[in-house]
Symmetry: C2
Subunit: 362 residues, 2 copies
DNA sequence: CAGCGGATTTACTACGTGGTAATCAGCGCT
DNA sequence: AGCGCTGATTACCACGTAGTAAATCCGCTG
């Protein structure tokens, strides 16, 4: 059996409670006593029992992170950043994969993840119509992404509209006029605030601002957002015979597929078709040609989300503070696929900073 | 305060212990009683308190997975598979990132991850010289990868030697004779069983078996194994003026960089240089050209490792069963970078099955 | 109808920790 | 010396669960 406070207490000739006080850095412990206890702790190799601590205090020191799939690069990088941010605060992270299963997502929202103090949740299938679910959530929760917007819950997200707009404006600045967009989501009629709709909105705004006529046929619906889907969409676009000189894909994963499909069809990127993605996943600067993208500020998102969740946990279950919304700053990263350099050194790229980070309360 | 067994017991007019028996599917509970209790559980929305359960039973139902970095595609996909395999068994997974920090790795091995019943550990910096550490491990542990081989610990790994050999034999079968290898590890003089050494060994075996002279200058040392490093190594290889008509990179990440570097230098893949990687990460079939690779059997590795760990947890701390070693079956996936097709549909590829899975006891 | 054995249920308790409140030691002051 | 005060330490208990062993119930046998 493991070493307990009791064992330490006996060796240090104090009560278990004094050991507890030392471990928890309570004031009013005599320096000599503290030293003696610490000595005993070291000698016995005592480690606090987290289950017991959890039972007594109601905290586990573990937070949950729920994503669709870790094998999607975007979520892997998000998880990486979240785990790093949590570690800074002494929190561990249980990662759950929901695999785009709506039932699981609803179940998760009603019960939370066992063993955790709170949840960071990046849903895929929930929409505005599920907003009511949030009213009954009785554990600390921070949503990543914004499609259940306006509920009583904290949200950390990105500047989907303005970032998408900036990406398309970049394409326009290259002189492109027939700009296709791949990734509109079939569900999004009912999900006005889904990321796909917001990015599409940014796309339309950019066109409108530049006085470019909007051709609905250039908005390509596709789901889910795997590279294969991007390739399929690009092929259908090519086969459609529609003229186009640029593609904005709503994610980098889609762009990877699109790049392949364009290559197979003999369209040269960026000469014939400029391409820009969204997410700035790690491989995007390694594709051939390297992929321009929008960096949504992943580290900032993770840091902020973990911070908000830690605060909610700190405040306790009862407190009903107002929901907050944070949008991370973004960058447009120009690489070869839209005429940037970036061949010489893999890291080089043009960079256009977008809207500053902003946090709203209310 | 949350609903407890006590509350359920009162409502169902039974003792708390009976509720516990129902929850834990004990035999010898009268069907009527069971139904009444389940009714009460549903009515109150009772959920077991995992901390209390953990305290009482000594089990948390959580396992740890420690990897260098989740943002490396290989580890993200591994984590994906591990989480899925754990979920099948009702286990949650806390993911820890050690970032290639040797101190952290040693600390982890001495204390385990808090809040967990056991650990799956894929170290980066530990070597054969750290084997002694394993003697003092007092928690269930399964190592992923084999460089601390021969200790008292279960290992789940891949057929590094024969898989690498198969990859190189494939290149040879294309008629290539000047085959470079990128990824030899500088530390591996002292780590005879590091994956890099084992894969290099497979490379040499393949050359020897084919009667091809071994040119040490074609073995390129590089560390760490990020794509940038692969690009650097490939550039140095090109600049060296050495003649070569194929490259075997010890990981796909290195291959991604190598593909870029070759493209920049005007070498056409696979006509001038055939390339094959190792790991079969998801993007490898999306690169241009798509990347041939060795699929190390990730799902099998994850499944087996979680199974072994679950068994060790089941057996309890005291039992000192013999260490086991499992090597997953592998496949050589032939894609465009070594002359395969795979352009039409993204998924298509040649496939050559390697050694069957094998498990050794002792 | 007492008695038996297995099925079912229960009382009691400990798991390791930390909050509460009580106790105790030491010190300055009257 | 006696008092009150602060700092330091402690006894006691509860958190929610599940193991142990004892108690109770039920159907049947002799």
């Amino acid at each position: 059996m493991a070493v307990t406070m009791r064992d330490v207490a006996i060796l240090a000739r104090v009560s278990p409670k004094t050991v507890s006080n030392v471990v928890n850095d309570h004031p009013n412990v005599h320096p000599d006593t503290r030293a003696r206890v610490q000595q005993a702790i070291a000698e016995l190799g005592y480690r606090p029992n987290h289950s017991a601590r959890g039972l007594r205090s109601g905290r586990t020191g573990v937070i949950g992170l729920a994503v669709p799939e870790l094998k999607q690069a975007y979520f892997a990088e998000l998880a990486d950043a979240v785990i790093a941010a949590a570690a800074k605060r002494g929190l561990s992270v249980i990662v759950g994969q929901l695999g785009g299963d709506r039932e699981h997502e609803i179940e998760l929202l009603t019960h939370g993840l066992p063993q955790t103090d709170g949840l960071l949740f990046s849903p895929e299938r929930l929409g505005t119509e599920d907003r009511d679910l949030l009213a009954y959530v009785d554990f600390p929760l921070v949503m990543l992404g914004e499609w259940i917007f306006g509920g009583p819950t904290d949200h950390v997200t990105m500047h989907n509209v303005s970032a998408a707009r900036a990406a398309v404006e970049h394409l326009i600045s290259l002189g492109r006029r027939r700009i296709a967009v791949i990734g509109a989501h079939p569900d999004d009629e009912t999900r006005q605030l889904g990321p796909s709709n917001l990015r599409i909105q940014g796309y339309r705004e950019a066109l409108a601002a530049a006085g470019i006529e909007h051709d609905p046929r250039l908005e390509r619906v596709v789901a889910p957002w795997h590279p294969e889907d991007g390739a399929d969409a690009a092929r259908r676009l090519i086969d459609s015979g529609l003229e186009f000189d640029a593609i904005f894909t709503l994610t980098d994963a889609l762009a990877l597929g699109a790049l392949r499909a364009l290559g197979e069809a003999g369209r040269v990127v960026p000469d014939d078709v400029a391409v820009i993605g969204f997410d700035n996943i790690a491989i995007s600067h390694l594709t051939v040609p390297s992929l321009s993208s929008v960096d949504p500020g992943r580290a900032e998102i993770a840091e902020t989300a973990v911070g908000m969740l830690a605060e909610r946990i700190e405040w306790g279950a009862g407190s009903s503070r107002p929901a907050r919304l944070h949008k991370a700053a973004f960058d447009v990263i120009v690489r070869e696929s839209s005429g940037g350099t970036g061949s010489g050194t893999l890291g080089s790229s043009g960079r256009q900073s977008g809207a500053a980070a902003q946090t709203l309360n209310g």
